[in-house]
Symmetry: C2
């Protein structure tokens, strides 16, 4: 894959706790921001329960449709952690003790503390490549284009640095935000015209309430800075004509 | 649908701003908590971009597989708001002016302010039923088992009350949380045994860091309080044997 190619990814969040509403997912936004910064566009996110068949079926769709898939959750020591065995089945690979992971955790824990529960965390699909974990020892892993990360947000974040060289991104996706003291309906037709003339650019419009006042952020996204600049100047032109105030946000 | 039946739902979050990482989704957790409280289990969540084909294809899968589908986002006045037209196409229905919605917004805005952009918000699939919006006027709508809500979290929240009588839930899903001063690997095998004996109960294990200390929350979920109580007593038994401290969380 060379630069300039469009590179995309899906995120697969595994865990009943997100679907029950008990836990607020933040890993999607962490991963999406990081992926954008290295030129990978997130096509889709799915959240599925801790059910093996559902994980396997979803993974098999997403890994075909995307350059990369990132999973979060389900790689801990308890009975409801079934990501590694599900990935093995999805790829039709053996599920076995990963020798390097075993050595890492054997060295990480004090003598006698590398118990049965913890040993579950070194069972992985055969030939999995490890993703090192600088926070709590237990590594994640990748198989082909699927990268499996933990669900705990602080641990996940700490593991992304070590992944950077294994993901080949395209052109980073650049963005520009213009925030206005207006409402969407005032600018809808003007923006729509600019979008129609610039189909390869993504223009989003997002209302906000801030310090008791309504506003709209217009976000322009593209791999091409010159196209963003062109769009920006067209937007600034109608803002001036309509005498709309630009605000910080 | 009678009570006691299991009732499930999918959530479809529509919006490039979630996939780019710009916006942290909170509607999933709002909807999931609310649905749980009325006896509807969330099976799956998907986040898709503002692309018509993707919205239609995803909706057609989810509405077949689930009793209900809740969409968020894409029902505002701008060019990137394409949920209503996509739902119309998914159901092969006309996309037309909804007379009741027109009346509501005509009365809501001051004379002369019900402009072209705002009028876009009354275009809906034919025969759509409105979901009233006590915050900002513009209604959501439902078609058969698909309920379309806005993306702005405060507006979405304010619309759920009016929906309650239109969703027929099953038995509410009850839950009990036991938080422990331990690590997952210490309790993994004990919980696994209890889960094996009680397959119809959902037992989750979630590590936490709070006030600088590690802990684990065990969450038992079921429609049947007596099964939760039974599971709880088995858990309390091994906790006592292992001399593990129970903590507030």
């Amino acid at each position: 894959m060379t630069k300039n190619t469009k590179v995309n990814a899906a995120i697969l969040i595994i865990g009943n706790e997100i679907l029950s509403g008990r836990t607020q997912d933040t890993n999607t936004s962490t991963l999406a921001n990081w992926l954008n910064s290295i030129g990978v566009k997130v096509n889709e996110v799915r959240v599925v329960p801790d059910i093996e068949k559902k994980i396997i079926d979803t993974l098999n769709v997403l890994r075909e449709e995307n350059n990369y898939v990132f999973t979060t959750g389900g790689i801990g020591p308890t009975h409801d952690d079934i990501t590694a065995q599900s990935v093995a089945k999805a790829f039709d690979l053996k599920y076995e003790i990963h020798k390097e992971a075993f050595k890492i955790l054997e060295a990480y824990y004090k003598p006698g503390e590398f118990n049965e529960g913890r040993q579950k965390m070194v069972w992985m699909p055969e030939k999995a490549e490890l993703i090192l974990n600088p926070t709590s020892g237990a590594p994640g892993f990748s198989v082909k284009n699927v990268f499996c990360l933990p669900g705990v947000p602080s641990i996940l974040k700490s593991m992304l640095g070590g992944l950077k060289n294994r993901i080949v991104g395209g052109q980073p996706i650049l963005s520009l935000t213009i925030s206005l003291r207006t409402v969407e309906s005032e600018i809808a037709s003007s923006i729509s015209k600019i979008q129609d003339k610039n189909k390869e650019i993504e223009i989003g419009s997002y209302p906000f309430f801030h310090a008791g006042k309504l506003g709209v952020s217009i976000v322009i996204r593209s791999e091409d800075q010159s196209k963003i600049d062109l769009c920006n100047s067209e937007i600034l032109k109608f803002i001036e004509e309509k005498k709309i105030e630009i605000v910080d946000r």
